[in-house]
Amino acid sequence: MADQTRATISAASAPSCAAPLIPNLPDDISLQILARVPRFRHPFLSLVSKSWRSTVNSPELFRTRSLLRISHFSLYLNLRHDSSFYWYAEQNPQNSKSTVVSLPSIPHHHPVGSSILTLGPKIYVIGGSINDIPSSNVWIYDCRFQKWGIGPKMKVAREFPAAAEWNGKIYVLGGCNVDNWTRSINWAEVFDPKTGVWAPIPSADSIELRHKWMHASAIIKGRFYAMADRGGVVYNLDSGEWGNVPKRLDMGWRGRAAVVEDVLYCYDYLGKIRGYDVEEDKWRDLRGVEKGLPKFLCSSTMVNLSGRLCVVWEGKGNGNRKEVDVMCAEIEVKKDSDGGLSGSILRVGVILVVPKGVSISQCLAVEF
């Protein structure tokens, strides 16, 4: 339905592109102006006229925004109910009524145990299994146009791989059996979106964890940390060397973590947000946030949202047993002079109410 409407409008607007966007202004200046309007206002710009609408949706506008370095980060949520996954996005920080909107789902079965990450305006859903069969598929959601598409397949099928973005490329490892030559040489792969090609990353047979599922991953200071149920592996993205994860990091890392200013934060499930400093090999409690947050953050997950620590968890649902509140806190974190970590809460509140049984799978920061 929506697609039909879209087609009708764009077909009708095609011949009228001769009219300037703004009377008396060259279109390149108008583009400069429109590009500087915050993204959440773009739908309003679309309503002004047909030529404004096609400009707002054009690659030129996004290119201009990137060049001007004014693109910004928004929070996206992946929620799970049984084996179904749902996507939501926080749209407009100024909108008092509805902050979070529902997005389309992957047009086929949403894989379970995929690794999900963002690269600029796109969300990548990598591997995972469908009906217990691991997949090599990569689904890509373009947040600008709200459309799912399928990307180039990995060389091997994976479930519960570790994946992360570094310098515009996607690194994926693990989550596959290494029982044949192809899988063994492709245990770790790198994807370059510019060429659309997956290439193997050399890894040694001696890495003990090659047969394991990966449960968490992060990049800290150019090193890709991938964690199995016990132990983990580190890949140096500059030198290509492999190593072991420090024992303290392994012992303290729980659930999904976020890296803000080279410190890895996670929730210890006992009521504390803690940060790990790689150089010092030390965990520290995040101070100054106890009063502003509930005692326990149920099913918490976190992400770096424009340099701030954004924590999302399940709240009590206002006494209503049929519903769950999805809560969110945005925290500014800093290193104190004594080496400790402290945070100040910039906002905290309910961003979405969902039926009981729905759980938070992941939160992501999308930039465009």
């Binding site: 929506a2 409407t5 009377p23 200046i29 102006i33 590009a35 739908p43 309003f44 006229s49």
Partner: protein, 163 residues
């Protein structure tokens, strides 16, 4: 040029409504258009600026003088620009963006575009159409369809069209 004689060189600029303005060459060459004329040796007499009216040119010259008096300190320059644009109404800004484009002054161009975007951000669709003189070429059905596509965005947002 100025450095050779020891006295600052002054240029005379003429607006398209025949107003004359004197401005120090060191400030005027913030405009790449004027700088090119000076370098080509065509700035001896009066420099005609056919696309800028007197009111706008006066504003631009105030900006040229103000910003060139600030030493190389990006923070201070930025706060000067913010202050300079803070009291300008929408029509003035639209004239200035055109002038900045014609005069090829990228710093002013950037600042004015950002300011216009900032003003537009808080306004309704109707306001934007009126101010820019844009004709609504949607049929009511098409407009409803575009609204429907981004339904959530149009709920609960307030605009301040009065100022």
């Amino acid at each position: 040029m100025a450095a050779e004689t020891g006295t600052p060189t002054t240029l005379t600029l003429k607006s398209n409504d025949d107003e004359l303005f004197s401005v120090a060459e060191s400030a005027a060459i913030l405009s790449v258009t004027i700088r090119n004329m000076v370098e080509d040796g065509c700035a001896g007499g009066v420099i005609p600026l056919d696309n800028v009216d007197g009111k706008t040119l006066a504003s631009v010259i105030t900006y040229m003088n103000g910003i060139s008096a600030i030493p190389a300190d990006e923070e201070k320059k930025k706060s000067y620009r913010d202050k300079f644009l803070s009291d300008k109404d929408f029509e003035t800004l639209a004239d200035m963006v055109l002038a900045a484009n014609y005069l090829n002054m990228s710093c002013l161009m950037d600042a004015v575009s950002a300011k216009i975007a900032q003003v537009m951000e808080k306004k309704s669709v109707g306001w934007v159409r009126r101010k820019f003189g844009i004709e609504n070429d949607y049929t009511p059905e098409e407009e409803a369809a575009v609204k429907e596509e981004h339904k959530w965005t149009f709920e609960g947002v307030e605009t301040d069209d009065d100022n």
